[in-house]
């Protein structure tokens, strides 16, 4: 009896379950390829996953409000191209200014999505399906289809995400900072709480004086700003900007949220969940080649994991009836 309730508690706390699976995976991979779990390598894996973590956290906010942002990958490509071109035109721009600009540009793209959802009232999946094509098309118009290559970028433009501090890259630190800010934001601000509320029950939110559309708008702005920042980080990390940057990455971001237990129906989810979901995917991507599994298996494995994760989540979410009968309580 005690046992089942313990398991019940564990499973109800999806994050712990997910963290456990991640730990198991690390042990498993580490036993075949010990170097994989060396601190240095783990830091690299984290560095490789940092962008996904940030995007998943931001996407979670959007999903909490019953929306979805499919335009993040295109936003990355667009903002990345913008800052790369700016860097080519004005090589003296300090990296920090570039970072701030990227947040701004991405935020504007996000705000455009948000306006269409809020003020025009088009379903978010339609809006972002549209802007996903539009933003990526603009990358082509902006660049004339040409690539911006490493040798055209200035060293300081390239240095920011690579610089290390306490054995972690600045990119990793940015991801950690974003995650912490998001945690505080969701737990301890009125806006954060309101985002959960408008997604959990939009009608009740209106009755409580919360403007559902406005909060959806805010989450799109956040998602856009984070995507914009990731645009710069991506372009600078891989030292190239071109039209197809991060193509189809939005699906990985949504998948990370799904694995992290964020309910697509809105209102349910935690930053921990989103971050762990992203780390989980990042780990799979990095570990498979290491343990000698053909890259051709990678896609099927992550697909299978997503399906299994949502099945497990759905089981733990089921709240077997209200239990009117007395004995059942004891």
């Amino acid at each position: 009896m005690k046992n089942t309730s313990l398991i019940g508690k564990l499973i109800s706390h999806r994050e712990w379950l997910l963290a456990g699976i991640i730990a198991l995976m690390l042990v498993g991979v580490g036993s075949t390829a010990p170097f994989f779990i060396s601190p240095g390598n783990l830091a690299e894996v984290f560095d490789d996953t940092a962008i996904l973590i940030m995007l998943a956290c931001a996407q979670m906010l959007v999903i909490l409000t019953r929306c979805i942002d499919l335009s993040v990958a295109s936003n990355i490509a667009f903002t990345g191209m913008c800052v790369a071109l700016i860097n080519v035109a004005y090589p003296d721009t300090p990296a920090l200014v570039t970072l701030i600009m990227s947040i701004g540009i991405g935020g504007v793209l996000g705000a455009f999505n948000g306006i269409l959802v809020w003020l025009v009232g088009i379903p978010s999946i339609v809006v972002t399906l549209g802007t996903m094509s539009i933003y990526r098309g603009f990358v082509f118009l902006l660049s004339g289809g040409e690539w911006v290559n490493a040798h055209e970028m200035t060293p300081q433009f390239l240095a920011l995400p690579r610089a290390t501090f306490l054995d972690l890259t600045v990119l990793s630190w940015i991801a950690i900072a974003v995650t912490i800010i998001m945690l505080v934001f969701t737990r301890f601000t009125k806006t954060g709480l309101s985002i959960f509320a408008v997604g959990g029950n939009p009608k009740a939110a209106v009755y409580s004086g919360l403007n559902v559309g406005k909060y959806q708008f805010i989450t799109f702005c956040i998602s856009g700003a984070v995507a914009g920042m990731c645009g710069y980080l991506w372009v600078s990390r891989y030292a190239v900007a071109y039209v197809e940057v991060a193509v189809a990455f939005e699906l990985q971001v949504v998948a990370a949220c799904v694995i992290g237990g964020i309910s697509i129906a809105g209102g349910i989810g935690t930053i921990w969940g989103a971050a762990l979901g992203a780390i989980f995917l990042g780990l799979i991507n990095n570990a498979l080649p290491v343990i000698g599994i053909s890259p051709f298996w990678q896609l099927a494995i992550s697909g299978l994991v997503i399906v299994l994760a949502v099945i497990i989540n759905s089981r733990s979410e089921k709240r077997g009836g209200r239990r009117i009968l007395r004995e059942a309580h004891r």
């Binding site: 170097f35 390598n41 690299e44 490789d48 082509f140 660049s143 289809g145 040409e146 690539w147 290559n149 490493a150 040798h151 690579r162 991506w234 891989y238 030292a239 190239v240 071109y242 039209v243 197809e244 940057v245 991060a246 193509v247 991507n285 990095n286 080649p289 290491v290 890259p295």
Partner: protein, 304 residues
């Protein structure tokens, strides 16, 4: 008379290599006078995207199509249909099935390219030799696959080199980068990465630099001087090879034009490139690849 219109279909738009080829084709068109180049292709390296581009060219009733194929088989039916409609079809750079084009223009002899890549790898690995790995484009890329086969053929001659892995970066910079990083992790003793793709070689060089492996791991293969000059300076790339993509585009355009003029397809005059001969399967080669290193890369970096 109406100008002769030739559709130049490339693997993907925005790729520096193909932009240079386009410039060559334009040059040829200008030289011919009464000809026009329609430069088109998808933004990602997919066969479906190329099919749509070819469909659009057919609708405009162009006179000839010159294609660098993302997939030799998937493009075959549509190209056959184009030929049925009286359009002259050639492939260049990366070929299609034999019966779906009149001739195919290889940038160089495939055997030579394969041999050259391995030779560059052997040079950079030094006498001690070591492990080498190949970073290719998409698994379906015709020319890549042929070159890799050719490399494997000559490898036995270089007993000091050991091919440990072949990975695919899909001609996407970020994917190539990740694949390179994974290679470096998986094979700590890796000495050389051979990337016979202009996208892959840049990404690989960047990854080697970021992983702090400059001097230990070298990248070589096929690439553009303009994109690799920085990496040659950084030391991750010692030398690499490429033929002149401008010449390649120029030749493709010339050949396509000639085919619209007469039926000769064994010996085709290609302007300043001279006469190019094609075998009974319609395969021909343009010229030998040229090797670039610190001594000459900056000179050519301004050209392509």
């Amino acid at each position: 008379a109406d100008p002769v219109r030739v559709g130049l279909v490339v693997k993907s738009l925005g790729n520096g290599f193909f932009e240079a080829a386009r410039d060559g084709a334009m040059e040829a068109a200008k030289e011919i006078g009464n000809a026009e180049v329609i430069y088109t292709g998808p933004t990602s390296t997919t066969a479906e995207g190329q099919i749509e581009s070819i469909n659009a060219l057919m609708s405009q009733r162009v006179d000839a199509i010159a294609v660098s194929a993302n997939d030799p088989d998937a493009l075959a039916p549509i190209l056959k249909r184009a030929m049925d409609r009286g359009i002259k079809v050639i492939s260049w750079d990366s070929g299609v099935a034999d019966d779906a084009r009149i001739v195919h223009l290889n940038p160089s002899s495939n055997a030579l390219i394969g041999a050259m890549c391995i030779k560059l790898a052997a040079d950079v690995a030094g006498d001690g030799g070591g492990d080498i790995a190949i970073l290719s484009a998409t698994p379906t890329s015709t020319n890549q696959n042929i070159w890799i086969d050719e490399m494997k053929k000559v490898l036995p001659d270089y007993s000091q080199l050991k091919l440990v892995d072949t990975v695919y970066g899909d001609d996407l910079a970020d994917k190539s980068y990740r694949e390179t990083v994974a290679l470096l992790k998986k094979h700590p003793d890796l000495k050389v990465i051979v990337a016979p793709t202009s996208v892959g070689i840049v990404a690989a060089a960047q990854a080697v630099e970021d992983q702090g492996k400059v001097g230990k791991v070298f990248v070589t293969g096929l690439g553009l001087p303009s994109e690799l000059a920085g990496h040659v300076d950084a030391g991750s790339v010692k030398s690499f090879a490429i033929w002149n993509p401008i010449d390649l585009g120029y030749s493709a355009m010339m050949i396509a034009y000639q085919l619209t003029q007469d039926d000769e397809h064994m010996m085709i005059k290609a302007g300043r490139m001279g006469t190019i001969s094609f075998d009974k399967d319609g395969n021909g080669a343009m010229s030998d690849p040229f090797i670039y290193d610190a001594s000459n890369v900056h000179k050519f970096a301004d050209i392509f």
